[in-house]
C-alpha cells in the first residue's frame, strides 16, 4: 500500500497527464455513442481504433506510409548532414557568416510552405518535390542552431587549445564540435516537427502518395474514422520522436 502511494507520488505528473487523455477519450466516446455529432463529422474512438488496426491488417496504409517515411528520411538526413557542415563553417569563419547571416535568418523566417507552388513548378509532383520541402523546412533550424553554438564556444577553451599549439582542424574536432552537440540536438528538436508539417502539406498538394495524401483522400470521401486514425498515428509518431530527442538532450547536457 505504502509503495503504491510512493509510486503515485513519483509519477504524479505522468498520471495526471494520462488522466487528461482518458477523460477526453471518454467524453469523445460518449458524444459519439449518443450520436450527439454526426458520425461523418466525428467518428467514435472505438471506430478510429478499429480502423487503425485494419489499415495495417489489410495493408492499405503501407504504400503511403513507406512513401512518407522515405520522403522524410531522405529530406531530413540531408538537412542534418548539410546543416552540420555548413553550420560549422559559418560558425567558425566570421567573414563567411557575415555574408550569409541576413540571408539565412530571412529564409528561416519564411514559411517554406509558401514556396510550395514554386517547388512543384520546378520539380513536378514526384518524390523530389516533397523531399525538397522536408529538406527546406528542417535545414535552416538545424543550420542556425549549429552555427550559433559553434560561434558561442567558450573563448577560454579556445585559448587552452591554442596554448597546446592545437591546429585549426584539431580545435574544430576536439572543441567546437563536441561543444555544439547540445546545440545540434536542440536544432533537431525544432526541425523535426517542421519537417513533418512540411511533408504532410506537400502531400496534400501533390496528391499522389503519402500520409498527407491519405488524409486528404479520406476527407474527400467522408471516411472520417480512417482520417482520424492517420492523424493520431502522425501525432503519436511525433510524440515518440520528441520523447527520444528529450532523452538524448538530457544525456548530452554534461551537467555543468
Amino acid at each position: 500500500m505504502k509503495s503504491m502511494f510512493k509510486f503515485i507520488k513519483q509519477k504524479e505528473n505522468m498520471l495526471l497527464g494520462l488522466s487528461g487523455i482518458i477523460v477526453v477519450i471518454i467524453l469523445w466516446q460518449t458524444v459519439a455513442a449518443y450520436k450527439l455529432i454526426d458520425p461523418i463529422l466525428l467518428s467514435s474512438p472505438i471506430d478510429v481504433f478499429n480502423e487503425s488496426i485494419s489499415l495495417f491488417k489489410t495493408g492499405e496504409i503501407y504504400p503511403d506510409l513507406i512513401a512518407s517515411i522515405s520522403e522524410f528520411l531522405i529530406g531530413f538526413l540531408l538537412a542534418l548532414f548539410l546543416g552540420f557542415i555548413f553550420g560549422f563553417i559559418l560558425g567558425w569563419f566570421k567573414k563567411t557568416r557575415a555574408v550569409f547571416n541576413p540571408l539565412l535568418f530571412g529564409l528561416y523566417a519564411t514559411p517554406i510552405i509558401a514556396i510550395l507552388p514554386l517547388i512543384i513548378l520546378w520539380f513536378g509532383f514526384g518524390l523530389f518535390a516533397k523531399v525538397s520541402i522536408v529538406f527546406l523546412s528542417s535545414f535552416f533550424p538545424i543550420l542556425i542552431s549549429i552555427m550559433e553554438s559553434a560561434k558561442n564556444t567558450d573563448q577560454n577553451l579556445l585559448k587552452l587549445a591554442r596554448s597546446f599549439k592545437a591546429s585549426e582542424f584539431n580545435i574544430i574536432t576536439a572543441i567546437i564540435i563536441p561543444n555544439s552537440i547540445p546545440g545540434i540536438v536542440s536544432g533537431i528538436k525544432i526541425a523535426m516537427p517542421r519537417g513533418i508539417i512540411g511533408m504532410i502539406i506537400a502531400e496534400f498538394f501533390t496528391g499522389n502518395a503519402g500520409l498527407g495524401y491519405l488524409i486528404s483522400y479520406y476527407g474527400s470521401t467522408f471516411q472520417t474514422a480512417k482520417l482520424l486514425a492517420i492523424v493520431i498515428l502522425i501525432a503519436g509518431a511525433s510524440v515518440v520522436f520528441t520523447a527520444v530527442i528529450d532523452l538524448l538532450e538530457k544525456k548530452v547536457k554534461y551537467n555543468n
Binding site: K159, R162, S163, K165, N170, A174, Y254, N255
Partner: protein, 260 residues
C-alpha cells in the same frame, strides 16, 4: 674576460598595451626586465590588475609584446611551444571528457604517440591522487580534484617550463595548503622551470626560489627577492623568522604600491 652563460629565459624591456575596438590603449606592462634560471621556481606577485596574467600570456606566446622581447634559450618567443605548458586559473576541463580524456587532451593536440600518452596519463593519475576517478566527468569532481586534473594535463605534455596563473586561488584554505605541498613535490621530482603567479605572499615565499614583485598598473619590476629555504620544504618554514621577515617586506611594498 669571463664568458657569461646566457640565462635560460630573458625578459627584455617588455611592454604590452591592449587596444580596444576604438583603438584606445591600456598599458598593462611597462618596460619589464628580469631573467629566469633553468630549473628555478619563480613566483610573481603584485597588486590586482598590474599585468601578471598579461606577462604570463606573453611568456606562453599567446600575446605578442608591444615592444621588447622574451628569449627562451636565446630564441624569441613568437607563439606557444611544446616546451611550455600553461595552467590557467580556472581548471578549464572539457565537460564531455573523462578525467583521463582531459589529462590526455594537450598531448593529443600535440600529436604525441598514443602509447606514450596512455602510459603517461596513467602515471599522472597516480601521482595526482586521482585513482578511481579515471572515468569520472568534471562535474563529478571537487574543485581541488579539477585543479589536479588541470595540472596533470599540463604535465602530460612533458614541458620544460610550467606557467601557472593563480592555480589555487579558487580553493579553500586547507585544500590550498595540501595542493601547495603537492606542487612542491612535483617540482622536486621533475626539476622543471616553474613560473607561478599568486596573490598570496605566503604561497609565493613557501614555493619559490625567487619572487618578482611588480608595481601597480602598468606593471614593472619593483623588487626581486631571493628565498633561500632548503628543499624539500615543509609547512614548518612558515613559522620561521626569515619567512616572517620576507612576508613583511613584500607586504609593505605592495601596500605602498596600492596607496600612492
Amino acid at each position: 674576460m669571463l664568458k657569461l652563460k646566457k640565462p635560460f629565459i630573458e625578459i627584455k624591456d617588455l611592454s604590452f598595451s591592449y587596444l580596444n575596438s576604438k583603438k584606445e590603449q591600456t598599458n598593462a606592462l611597462d618596460n619589464v626586465n628580469f631573467n629566469i634560471t633553468k630549473g628555478e621556481f619563480l613566483a610573481i606577485v603584485g597588486p590586482s590588475g598590474c599585468g601578471k596574467t598579461t606577462l604570463l600570456n606573453c611568456l606562453d606566446g599567446l600575446l605578442q609584446p608591444s615592444s621588447g622581447k622574451i628569449l627562451i634559450n636565446g630564441e624569441k618567443v613568437v607563439e606557444p611551444g611544446f616546451d611550455r605548458a600553461y595552467i590557467f586559473q580556472d581548471p578549464l576541463l572539457l565537460p564531455w571528457r573523462t578525467v583521463l580524456g582531459n589529462i590526455k587532451f594537450g598531448g593529443q593536440m600535440q600529436r604525441l604517440k598514443k602509447e606514450t600518452l596512455d602510459k603517461k596519463s596513467r602515471e599522472l593519475v597516480r601521482a595526482m591522487h586521482l585513482r578511481g576517478f579515471e572515468y569520472h566527468y568534471p562535474h563529478q569532481l571537487s574543485g581541488g580534484m579539477k585543479q589536479r586534473v588541470n595540472i596533470a594535463r599540463a604535465l602530460c605534455v612533458s614541458p620544460q617550463i610550467l606557467l601557472l596563473d593563480e592555480p589555487f586561488s579558487n580553493l579553500d584554505a586547507q585544500i590550498r595548503e595540501i595542493m601547495q605541498q603537492e606542487l612542491l613535490n612535483i617540482y622536486d621530482e621533475n626539476k622543471k622551470t616553474f613560473i607561478f603567479i599568486t596573490h598570496s605572499i605566503d604561497e609565493a615565499i613557501f614555493l619559490a626560489d625567487k619572487i618578482i614583485v611588480l608595481t601597480r598598473h602598468p606593471g614593472t619590476v619593483k623588487k626581486i627577492i631571493n628565498v633561500k629555504f632548503k628543499r624539500p620544504r615543509d609547512i614548518s618554514i612558515k613559522d620561521s623568522k626569515e619567512f616572517i621577515f620576507i612576508r613583511r617586506e613584500i607586504a609593505k611594498i605592495i601596500k605602498d604600491e596600492i596607496h600612492v
